[in-house]
């Protein structure tokens, strides 16, 4: 199902089709019947590109999950491993290959996603199995079309890799992906960026462009501007609790690869014709994207506006069902019947989202959620960020989940441009005593990436940034928003503000603030072949890491 990719301003289905084409080609390279052994992590991202039917057409008869020992028997000619380039996975593959039945050998292939890794191949060689592979290839899955207006690299660890492990390979992938994008949608004439990593990506793109000099794509540029932003330019936004409908689903149940798993109880009784009392024990899995009309309508609403939207929708649907009483003539009845499937789909979608909204409401109306949000908002508005927060202290005393504590402490640090040494030491001691000394390492990592830091001699510049970029809006309208601050009921995400200012009036107006944020800011222009110029205004933003 890819209809959701058509609805944005740019037809992202082109990208998806290109990716599918690539997949088909690789599968055909391993001629004959085949079984795919999946690195389980990849099934999610691949699901955004292709379905089993496509694989089946290309003689994929069996699919397994990668695990140690012997691969289950299957009468196929080829065994194809779809894996990320990770050393630990190479060890499993080596084990698989080594325990293969010598009497009925099958052909082995590896498809690395998103890139081949020389390191991994070396590991396979050390294990003495490298020569067992007929094909070793890579499948570039850099930018995955996620929704009508969203591409994602689905590489959740790239922030960690770039800032903690100093492995910038994901930046290379980002640049590659953007080159693909330009090959499909035309050269992007303007590139803006902020941050060390953004600078790297732009440099790589320009270099790659030079290497392809002479092979100008003759495609009318679809995108006008590209904005590259480092995650560490805006550490605050991901720390704050998201308050849109989709945001809260993610906060509470976490959305992975466009799917969410929900507790089944709320969805049990709804099914008709299933008289059984047996409650389903497996979580209910739902796909969430804009192909679903209702979801597209409410996903980005502040959660406080979702209830009204749902009840409005309920009225519309029941009115539509009521229509049947008015249908008198055969023609009218026929018309009604023809609309039934659509109406029923709408009804079940409504039922699902009502259940989800109920689940969320249980949490958002709790005292705990309210208190935590209050503290977040105090930090974001600069209230008492230089003292120990008794709320955080109490949360530690109650042994709340560590992640909640860390999020709050980091937020306080970010909103205060570092914590006073005394305050930082206090939090550290409390955390280590309550959650274990081994978290010395956790805290060290947070310090290394800058999420947590002691206050330097420099003055706290967060208030200036907040005021200049209007990061806090007092009169946010949650129901009919006219400003992005509605998504956090007051806080406007810094990266969004940077984008808005860039669009109008331009970054020159905020030079001072840009200097306060980490990393260089820059502007590059790319030559567009003459005759392909067109005035439009469609900024594409790539925000690195989640």
């Amino acid at each position: 199902m890819a209809s959701h990719l058509f609805c944005g301003r740019v037809n992202l289905n082109i990208l998806r089709e290109a990716a599918r084409k690539d997949l088909r080609e690789f599968l055909d390279k391993c001629s004959g019947s085949k079984a795919i052994v999946w690195d389980e992590y990849l099934t999610g991202p691949f699901g955004l590109i292709a379905q089993y039917s496509l694989l089946k057409e290309h003689e994929v008869e069996k699919m397994f999950t990668l695990k140690g020992g012997r691969i289950p028997s299957a009468a196929v000619k080829n065994i194809v491993f779809f894996v990320r380039p990770r050393l630990e996975l190479m060890d499993i593959i080596a084990e698989n290959v080594a325990s293969e039945d010598k009497l009925h050998p099958r052909d082995f292939h590896i498809l690395f996603v998103p890139r081949r890794s020389l390191l991994c191949e070396q590991r396979l060689k050390e294990k003495g199995v490298l020569n067992s592979f007929t094909n070793i290839d890579e499948y570039i899955l850099d930018l995955i079309p996620y929704d009508g207006d969203l591409l994602s690299m689905e590489s959740e660890s790239s922030f960690r890799e770039c800032y903690l492990e100093s492995d910038q390979t994901s930046l290379y992938h980002a640049a590659k992906g953007l080159m693909t994008l330009q090959a499909l949608y035309g050269t992007i004439p303007q590139i803006f960026g902020k941050g060390e990593c953004a600078r790297h990506v732009a440099n790589m793109m320009l270099r790659m462009k030079r290497e392809f000099a002479g092979s100008h794509t003759q495609i009318l540029p679809v995108f006008d501007t590209l904005l590259l932003l480092d995650r560490n330019v805006d550490l605050l936004t991901p720390l704050a609790t998201q308050l849109t409908y989709e945001g809260l689903i993610d906060e509470i149940f976490s959305i992975t690869n466009g799917y969410v798993k929900l507790p089944p109880e709320k969805f049990a009784q709804k099914k008709q014709g299933e008289g059984g009392k047996d409650l389903p024990t497996e979580p209910k899995k739902l796909q969430l994207n804009s192909a679903e009309e209702l979801y597209a309508e409410i996903r980005d609403k502040n959660f406080n506006a979702v209830g009204a939207a749902l009840s409005k929708k309920a009225k519309v649907i029941s009115a539509a069902f009521e229509e049947r009483h008015n249908a008198k003539t055969v023609g009218e009845i026929k018309q009604f019947v023809s609309q039934l499937p659509h109406m029923q789909a709408a009804r079940s979608s409504l039922a699902n989202h009502t259940s989800i909204a109920e689940l969320i409401k249980d949490i958002t109306t709790s005292e705990d959620f309210f208190d935590s949000l209050t503290v977040e908002q105090e930090f974001m508005t600069g209230v008492d960020t230089d003292k120990v927060s008794t709320y955080i202290e109490d949360c530690v005393a109650q042994k709340d989940p560590l992640i909640k504590i860390l999020r709050l402490v980091c937020m306080q640090s970010v909103c205060n441009n570092g914590l006073k040494q005394k305050v930082l030491d206090f939090y550290k001691r409390e955390i280590l005593q309550t959650y274990g000394y081994k978290h010395i390492l956790t805290l060290k990592n947070l310090e290394k990436v800058g999420l947590l830091k002691p206050q330097s001699t420099m003055r706290n510049n967060y208030p200036t940034i907040r005021k200049t970029l209007k990061l806090w809006m007092e009169d946010t309208n949650e129901q009919n928003p006219n400003d992005i601050s509605y998504v956090y009921s007051g806080y406007a995400p810094l990266s969004v503000r940077l984008t808005q200012v860039l669009a109008r009036p331009g970054w020159r107006s905020i030079e001072e603030v840009l200097k306060m944020l980490p990393g260089p800011h820059f502007e590059e222009r790319q030559q567009v072949p003459t005759g392909l110029h067109k005035k439009r205004n469609k900024p594409v933003i790539l925000v690195k890491s989640a």
């Binding site: 199902m1 890819a2 089709e17 290109a18 084409k21 080609e25 055909d28 001629s31 004959g32 999946w38 099934t43 699901g47 089993y52 039917s53 496509l54 694989l55 008869e61 069996k62 699919m63 289950p72 028997s73 299957a74 009468a75 050393l87 052909d107 890794s117 020389l118 390191l119 070396q122 060689k125 070793i136 499948y139 570039i140 492990e165 910038q168 390979t169 290379y172 080159m179 090959a183 790297h200 440099n203 790589m204 270099r207 002479g214 092979s215 794509t217 003759q218 495609i219 497996e282 209910k284 899995k285 739902l286 280590l432 005593q433 309550t434 274990g436 000394y437 010395i440 390492l441 060290k444």
Partner: protein
């Protein structure tokens, strides 16, 4: 190992796959043009999975993760009975102007281009991949060995044959490294680093890396990945990054399961050059585990009343200090400070704040319903010898904790009365149904209306009810409403 198979011929004869040549530099261009043509044709392409079915679990039928489960389970159930299927149709039929992502940027969708870097290091650089054997011999190293650092790196990026052997002098090697760094491709940087690691002495490599930050970071990451702990520690030492080294060493303890060995390992960490703060924490970590081992050994066979009444659910090993303190307040309350397991000893050794101590002890004693112990936690004597209740945590929190442990109303009431803030006091009293406190508060506020409202919530003729009645009949009170 040759894998000449019928379809191999098919493979090589098919028009799409040309034999490997090196003159493929312009291919990108022609492929791009080809791509564009394809893009235009894609737009009208029908999508075969437009209709999506969803299985009960909510996983769309036919999605990949669903299918992995389905096809795998059919095997486990043993229904796999089909005969081996002989492949008769060469599956290269799906041709046509090939538009693919990979073709945009690399020439290596052509077979024969596979080249693993490992080949470049090995003495016998012949590949055993089937397509490789069919490669013209002239592809060999003489051709690739003449390349500039720039060209070599480009080839590595594109997965074409390359050789690093010819980079013999230190200067050449460093040029190669700098070139790899300039393209930011971590994969290539790492490959070059592996080559340098093999061909340069440690000292020289370390020295050169110190001047190359990006390469150095990749090298550190590589050593971590490969688990080359010893070399890594040496490198960090050479770099003067002793704190990183200490932390990395410390991290190892997570892999040690046996508590005795873990304790010894932590002890060996004590002399490492941590920052001052961390040194204290690591020392505490070691002391804690050491204590826990002693306590665990004696409590496992303990037969005191408390252990029979409340059997231990889990061992105390590797638990955080606050959990350990709770355990000690639960099982070892009142022991003299001299014993390792006594709360007071633990509190002192680990410098636990008064607040944390009171909270933890309160939780443990309330759980055991030892209200007397709870009481004495807050008692302080002033210089006249009067006892007075004081708490480093607000009494409203004390009440919450007591209530959570189902303390009786009499106990709750006493602590509700101690809440300073009148609003908190009233809301606490209402929440936990401490009638006397509620009534007295309203009385003090001279709030007649609220008293009447509250009376309605009470059982008729209960003592509280009568108390309100009396108050309302008292003519001496000047009600405000």
């Amino acid at each position: 190992m040759t894998r000449a198979k019928p379809e191999d011929d098919e493979y090589w004869n098919s028009s799409k796959f040309k034999a490997f040549t090196f003159d493929d530099e312009d291919d990108e261009f022609s492929q791009l043009k080809e791509s564009k043509r394809a893009v235009n044709s894609i737009l009208v392409d029908e999508d075969e999975d437009d209709v999506e079915r969803v299985s009960w679990s909510g996983e769309p039928v036919g999605s990949i993760s669903w299918s992995v489960k389905e096809t795998a389970s059919s095997i486990r159930s043993g229904s796999e009975q089909s005969f081996p299927k002989i492949d008769t149709t060469p599956s290269l039929s799906k041709q046509g102007s090939g538009y693919s992502l990979s073709s945009l940027f690399k020439a290596k969708s052509k077979p024969g281009a596979f080249q693993s870097f490992s080949e470049s290091f090995s003495d016998t650089s012949f590949r055993t991949y089937a397509p490789e054997l069919r490669k013209p011999k002239s592809d060999g190293k003489d051709f690739v060995s003449d390349l500039s650092p720039e060209e070599t790196v480009r080839r590595m990026q594109k997965g074409r044959p390359f050789s690093l052997e010819k980079f013999r002098s230190l200067q050449d090697k460093l040029l190669l490294l700098d070139e790899a760094v300039a393209v930011y491709d971590g994969n290539v940087i790492t490959a070059v680093l592996i080559f340098l690691k093999k061909s340069l002495s440690k000292e020289i490599l370390f020295r050169e890396l110190m001047a190359r930050d990006v390469a150095l970071r990749h090298y550190v990451h590589y050593l971590k990945e490969m688990g080359e702990q010893k070399l890594l520690v040496e490198l960090l030492k050479a770099l003067g990054r002793t704190e990183d080294m200490a932390l990395m060493h410390y991290k190892e303890h997570l892999n040690i399961k046996d508590e005795g060995r873990r304790r010894d390992f932590l002890k060996s960490c004590l002399s490492l050059p941590f920052s001052q703060d961390d040194a204290t924490h690591v020392q505490d970590h070691y002391t804690l585990l050491e204590r826990q081992i002693i306590i665990e050994a004696s409590d496992k066979k303990a037969d005191a009343e408390i252990f029979k009444k409340f059997p231990r659910k889990a061992s105390i090993l590797n638990m955080p200090i606050i959990t350990t303190l709770y355990y000690s307040c639960f099982y070892h309350y009142g022991e003299s400070e001299g014993t390792f397991s006594s709360p007071s000893n633990i509190r002192k050794t680990f410098r636990i704040s008064e607040k944390q101590y009171i909270l933890t002890a309160l939780g443990a004693r309330a759980k055991l319903k030892s209200w007397f112990d709870v009481d004495s936690l807050f008692n302080t004597k002033n210089w006249l010898g009067y006892t007075k209740k004081k708490s480093p945590i607000g009494f409203h929190r004390v009440v919450d904790i007591l209530h959570k442990n189902s303390a009786p109303v009499q106990v709750l009431q006493e602590y509700v009365n101690l809440i300073d803030d009148p609003d908190l006091k009233l809301s606490g009293a209402l929440k936990y149904k401490c009638h006397d406190v509620v009534i007295n508060t309203y009385r003090d506020l001279k709030d007649r209306q609220q008293l009447i409202v509250y009376r309605e919530k009470l059982e008729r003729d209960s003592p509280e009810y009568r108390k309100i009645q009396e108050l309302l009949n008292n003519v001496q009170i000047r009600w405000k409403n």
